[in-house]
């Protein structure tokens, strides 16, 4: 029991300086890709999907490595991420069909 408790409370810091530099580098590369995409004259809907996709990858990198969630107990992940996904899905379901209807109502 006591062994379990000390193991649970101890804070360990995985992740080296090199790893964080790599994450930073890839975040910059993805930002560069986004800026280039903006000038590709793509159809707005496709561009929005690509930009949001890249942003989701970037935020996943930040949350996993910079915010350390990858190295935490899976319980913390299960508290934070599915909750957020659920709330956002509910907001999207109730907001966006209406907004798209307005687009069709335009003369």
């Amino acid at each position: 029991m006591s062994a379990h408790e000390t193991a649970a409370v101890e804070t360990h810091q995985p992740g080296t300086k090199k790893l964080f530099m790599w994450v930073w580098f890839w975040l910059l590369v993805l930002t560069g890709v986004e800026v280039l995409l903006a000038y590709m004259k793509l159809e707005p809907r496709l561009m929005l999907i690509l930009l949001i996709g890249l942003s989701l990858i970037k935020s996943a990198l930040i949350v996993a490595y910079f915010m350390h969630l990858r190295f935490e107990k899976i319980g913390l992940f299960l508290v934070v991420v599915p909750t957020l996904v659920f709330c956002l899905t509910m907001i999207l379901i109730f907001v966006f069909p209406d907004s798209l209807r307005i687009v069709r109502m335009h003369p």
């Binding site: 903006a38 930040i62 915010m67 319980g75 508290v79």
Partner: protein, 211 residues
Amino acid sequence: MAESDIDVLAGSSWDGGVAPFATNTKKLGMWLFLLSDSLTFSTAILAYAYVRLSSSNWPRPFDISPAIVNATFLTFILLSSSLTMVMAVAAAHRNEIKKAVIYILLTALGGIAFVVLHLMEWFRLFNEGVTPWANKWGDPLFGGTFFGLTGLHMLHVSIGVIYLCIIALGFGRRKFNADHVEVSGLYWHFVDLVWMFIFPMVYLMSVNLKG
């Protein structure tokens, strides 16, 4: 990979222990705050998307210079300040107090640079006739959503700078421990993360392709 996942699952059972998430309460509290704050930003961004979709003359005013170059540079500043914050947390956990304080102050400096550059851009837009309630290029709501979104984010950066300065002071005087530094780091990375959505949706989706 699969093996380590199983290890994590096996180690995550509460089992009557005192710390079900293997974190201190400060960290869990910050994560829950960030969860609610990300919903605040999500609804702000969704409101922007809604207004933009339902508008018939939404402007695309941002030229590559100065607006896009400036915004890309702001992204670079925020990402780099996140890197120094990671270094600060690592140094704090190794108990290298002086190094950690210097890294925290560097991070705060990045935040100050971000706010100053962003405010300069705001005043440039004011001079061109775009304010929160007026916009000479088209739909006046463009100004409202632009200044609303970037203003809410700028408020978070400003609060973050104050927060980091307090943490640096307290950690330097050994009143705070490494956990405080780590929790302030979580907040700072979150501010960075939000900008990763505001930058493409507000700036890159409004790039002036005619210029």
